[in-house]
């Protein structure tokens, strides 16, 4: 399963769906909203947007890259859009493989590739304004 979702991500269900008798390892990466602080202000939440359907397709492409590089039995990648509150998941990657090495390597690869090629953007909404991560454009005074 690959794609952009608007609702909360059910990571437990994703891991359940990845568990197969031909695999001995499941590695899961979850990215969550971290509350940064600076100068008395703090991040209140993150807000994500995506260019669909290109973003869905790029997530599928990452899955295909993984299958071509490693012996894996299952890959799924889900990225949430909209408001994501502190400690909630914005992205979840689940890889099952017969042995543990490929599961670790492929899930790490997936998050790095997401940050390179998938058209998704986040802004940090602070107590004193927002800023688009990566562009440094926003309403916060630097």
């Amino acid at each position: 399963m690959f794609g952009i979702v608007e609702e909360k991500i059910d990571v437990g269900a994703m891991i359940g769906a990845a568990s197969r008798p031909d695999c001995g390892a499941v590695c899961t990466f979850v990215g969550t909203t971290r509350v940064d602080e600076s100068g008395g202000n703090s991040v209140e939440y993150l807000e994500y947007e995506a260019y669909r359907p290109m973003a869905d397709r790029k997530l599928e492409e990452i899955g295909a890259e993984i299958r071509s590089r490693w012996d894996v039995g299952h890959v799924s990648i889900v990225h949430r859009v909209g408001r994501v509150d502190p400690a909630e998941a914005s992205v979840a990657i689940v890889v099952a493989s017969p042995r543990r090495g490929p599961a670790f390597e492929a899930s790490r690869y997936a998050i790095e590739r997401i940050k390179e090629i998938v058209p998704i953007w986040k802004r940090e909404v602070w107590s004193d304004g927002y800023v688009w991560v990566g562009s440094q454009v926003g309403t916060r005074q630097a």
Partner: protein, 80 residues
């Protein structure tokens, strides 16, 4: 006519998320960029940070664009 979609910081700077532009058959992204910055000068300083897509796939500045195509203006991605 083409449809230009703007995302993230680019939508912020332009003050819009979608614009329709009249373009010639067989234009290039390089030719379309000045049409956009004429209308939305706030985009201009972002030029070197932007990527572009045509019909949902990354494209270079010499990539062809014609009537009916969808162009996307993509700031540095920041998913995850």
């Amino acid at each position: 006519m083409i449809e230009v979609l703007l995302f993230g910081a680019a939508a912020d700077r332009a003050g819009t998320r979608k614009v329709r532009l009249e373009v010639e058959e067989d234009s290039t992204l390089a030719e379309i960029w000045p049409l956009l910055t004429d209308r939305y000068p706030g985009l201009c300083p972002m030029r070197d940070t932007l990527a572009f897509a045509v019909n949902g796939e990354y494209a270079r500045m010499d990539g062809r664009v014609g009537p009916g195509d969808e162009v996307a203006v993509l700031p540095p991605v920041s998913g995850g």
